[in-house]
Amino acid sequence: MDVIVNLAPQAGQMLLVLLLAPLLTGFVRIVKARLLRRRGPPLLQPYRDLLRLLRKEAVLAENASWLFRCAPYLIFAGTWVAAALIPTFGTGLMFSWSADLIAITALLGSARFFLALAGMDVGTSFGGIGSSREVMIATFAEPAMIMIVFTLALIAGSTQLSTIAGFMLSGGVGLRVSLGLALVALTMVAIAENARIPIDNPATHLELTMVHEAMVLEYSGRHLAMIELSAMLKLLLYVSLIACVFTPWGLAPDGAGPIPHFIGIGAYFLKLAVAGTLLAIFETSIAKMRVFRVPEFLGAALMLGLLAALLRFMSRSF
């Protein structure tokens, strides 16, 4: 019985992220469209797109290997698990002991590894370009992410997310320079990781400028649905991560009853809406940067993360 009671929030969390991910993407698209004075697709369009893709036949290139067919599921599984580990509405998740920032980074890294391999599998030039650019971005984004994790671990004394969230909620944290730097760095990494403007454009039709889209050009049907859903999950994951670490207000504590959990869900929705709006405004107000500017952008994120960690290391008051 206990297992079922304990499992409920965890199962709820897993389903919640899965169901909410397309909604967040749809919401960002709508806000962007409105900012551009367009009407935009309906809020539920991403769900319809996924359903349509799931119903369609998957077309495979003749020389596609088993890896090409497996990769979408591996990517989806890795991203889903990572997204399910982040406390969204409550910290008392059954698997919260495993909700370690380093584990999450590693899960995302594996998903990326398979995506990059799949991009090169069929041997088209666009897939190759996409994979090469993706790996270049990752080379800079992952160290930056690790530095951010270190900073947070130095402050909260743990890399476990529920502990970090609990510590941030405890009130004794206050405003800290190192936290501010980490927030900026994490936002930059999140933008790069999610293939958003100015790093990549999720809505582009120009083959030659694509990064993420170029890797998945050869996918169709259910495979593409898995990859699209993974991308949506990843966006939700990063928003949740930032919300969980930097704005943990409203999170239901471990062992709380249903009411705090509902409050937690409400607060979570609010956070997603705010983050989605901010993302749309940011994306509308900036042009995409040159491919070779990306290392500078992510290098800045890395430096900020490094600075945050050093500040924290030298003095406890920062």
Partner: protein, 505 residues
């Protein structure tokens, strides 16, 4: 005495060629003309074939004289101009594809428009049956370590015209880009042969959809020149009004689309609204959003009448909104970072290729067919031809912005002075005294559109050649992208915005 006039005097002058002279020359003069081009003393305006002759239109840039020289190729050959003057190469490959006339000494003898899928070789010449289903095409090689190729198109991810681009790259850096065009070949010059003037005007209007007015106007002016028709004054002014509306609509579209290729969709949205307003006004005034078939030989087919008031409203709206968009473009640092300094076209190349339009004017070539050779009513209108010499994407955007301002001012003047009266005169194209030839150079939004035609004595088109400005812009795109990175190509390409349809004919 200008060099061109000097050269033309040595040939046999052809009667009934208007408004500029045409002479039939021998090999010696042909070679002299070729040298004038390669020494940049004359600019190449066009090079086109006929069953047994090749014509070349030239512009003497010192005196702004225009002339056409013709060489007769009895044995199916002529000396290649492209041998010493590269801008002619693709035109000569096309002459070979369409007429089977062989340019001797041409450095590049591959087929150009003919992909081997027409079922016939030299369709306008000997028409040799060719049942093969497509030829192999050998792209120019690039050698070196770690080079690889990227093939893009002819079918693209976006909804654009078909064209194939073959990149040789080293990682992200482009070593060589080669274009392959001809996918949009419709056989317009073949359809023109034997058509009457009305059908010819219809075909011309459909050569490149975004330049319907420019092509219609060029065709009409060429036909009128051949027949010596004077068009009613009101029609002349209405034609200019349409041409400027077309320029406005296309420039708005381009400015937005260039910014969108740098993923700055805000400009696309805002410029799209302005473009839509222009097109709707055109629809109200002329009954067609792109004003297709509105210009016909002898005048215009539609009189806007009371619609002029709508144009006045449009101008007020544009004058209010466009400056804000210029500020937005100018003050968005991330956008400027993409456009400034990328895709630089050197002024020497623009000069050599005699490339017109915003591409040429952004690289210091101050050529505008409305000024040189000029045609009414522009001689009685005040306007400037903006010129920059930086030659980058940003310069090409700025030329468009300035031209939008000029076009708004021009439309204002036109509707202020629009004369009353007839818009069309009736005429009989059939003439007793032999075939008549006419030629016209008209400034479309991309640059100068050249139309040359010959009418036979029953008033039907014997041969009509339409030369899109893109012929001299496409090759430069290859030069611009060299040494740039692959991801910047869409931006450079959009800033050129060459026509596929007008080029492939």
């Amino acid at each position: 005495m200008s060099v061109l006039a000097d050269l033309m005097r040595d040939g046999r002058s052809v009667e009934n060629h208007h408004p500029w002279p045409r002479t039939v020359v021998e090999e010696g003069e042909w070679l002299r003309a070729r040298d004038l081009l390669s020494q940049s003393r004359c600019a190449l305006l066009g090079l086109w074939g006929e069953a047994h002759a090749v014509h070349m239109a030239m512009l003497d840039e010192a005196t702004n004289e225009i002339g056409v020289i013709t060489i007769e190729c009895q044995d199916g050959r002529f000396s290649s101009v492209g041998q010493v003057h590269p801008p002619a190469i693709r035109l000569e490959r096309t002459i070979y594809d369409l007429f089977g006339l062989e340019p001797t000494g041409i450095p590049d003898s591959r087929a150009w428009l003919d992909h081997g899928r027409w079922g016939v070789r030299s369709p306008l010449g000997d028409q040799i049956a060719n049942p093969t289903g497509g030829d192999a095409y050998f792209f120019l090689p690039a050698e070196g370590e770690s080079l690889h190729q990227i093939a893009v198109g002819p079918v693209h991810a976006g909804i654009i015209e078909p064209g194939h681009f073959r990149f040789n790259v080293n990682g992200e850096a482009v070593v060589r880009l080669e274009e392959r065009l001809g996918y949009a070949h419709k056989g317009i010059e073949g359809l023109m042969a034997g058509a009457n003037l009305a059908r010819g005007a219809m075909l011309a209007s459909r050569t490149s959809g975004d330049s319907a007015v420019a092509y219609g106007l060029a065709f009409a002016r060429a036909a009128e020149a051949a027949l010596g028709i004077e068009v009613p004054r009101r029609a002349v002014w209405l034609r200019a009004l349409m041409a400027e509306l077309e320029r406005l609509a296309n420039h708005f579209g381009d400015i937005g689309a260039i910014c969108n290729d740098a993923s700055f969709a805000l400009m696309l949205g805002q410029c799209g609204i302005l473009r839509e307003h222009v097109l709707r006004t055109a629809n109200v005034c002329f009954g067609h959003r792109l004003m297709r078939d509105c210009v016909a030989p002898g005048g215009v087919t539609v009189d806007p009448g009371g619609g002029i008031a709508r144009i006045r409203d449009l101008l007020v709206m544009l004058r209010g909104r466009f400056p804000q968009l210029i500020d937005l473009y100018d003050n968005t640092a991330s956008l400027q970072d993409r456009t400034v300094g990328s895709g630089v076209l050197k002024p020497e190349l623009a000069q050599q290729y005699a490339c017109g339009g915003f591409v040429g004017r952004a690289s210091g070539r101050a050529f505008d067919a409305r000024r040189t050779p000029g045609y009414p009513p522009y001689d009685s209108l005040q306007f400037e031809v903006p010129v920059l010499d930086r030659g980058d994407v940003d310069a090409r955007v700025w030329i468009r912005i300035r031209e939008v301002e000029q076009s708004i001012a021009l439309i204002e003047q036109i509707i202020g002075q629009l004369p009353a009266g007839e818009t069309q005169i009736d005429f009989d194209p059939a003439t007793a005294n032999g075939p008549k030839e006419g030629m016209a150079l008209v400034e479309g939004f991309r640059g100068d559109v050249l139309v040359w035609l010959r009418l036979n004595s029953s008033g039907r088109i014997e041969r009509c050649h339409l030369r899109d400005p893109s012929w001299f812009q496409w090759p430069l795109l290859e030069a611009v992208i060299e040494g740039n990175i692959v991801a910047d190509f869409p931006l450079c390409n959009k800033s050129f915005n060459c026509s596929y349809s007008g080029h492939d004919l």
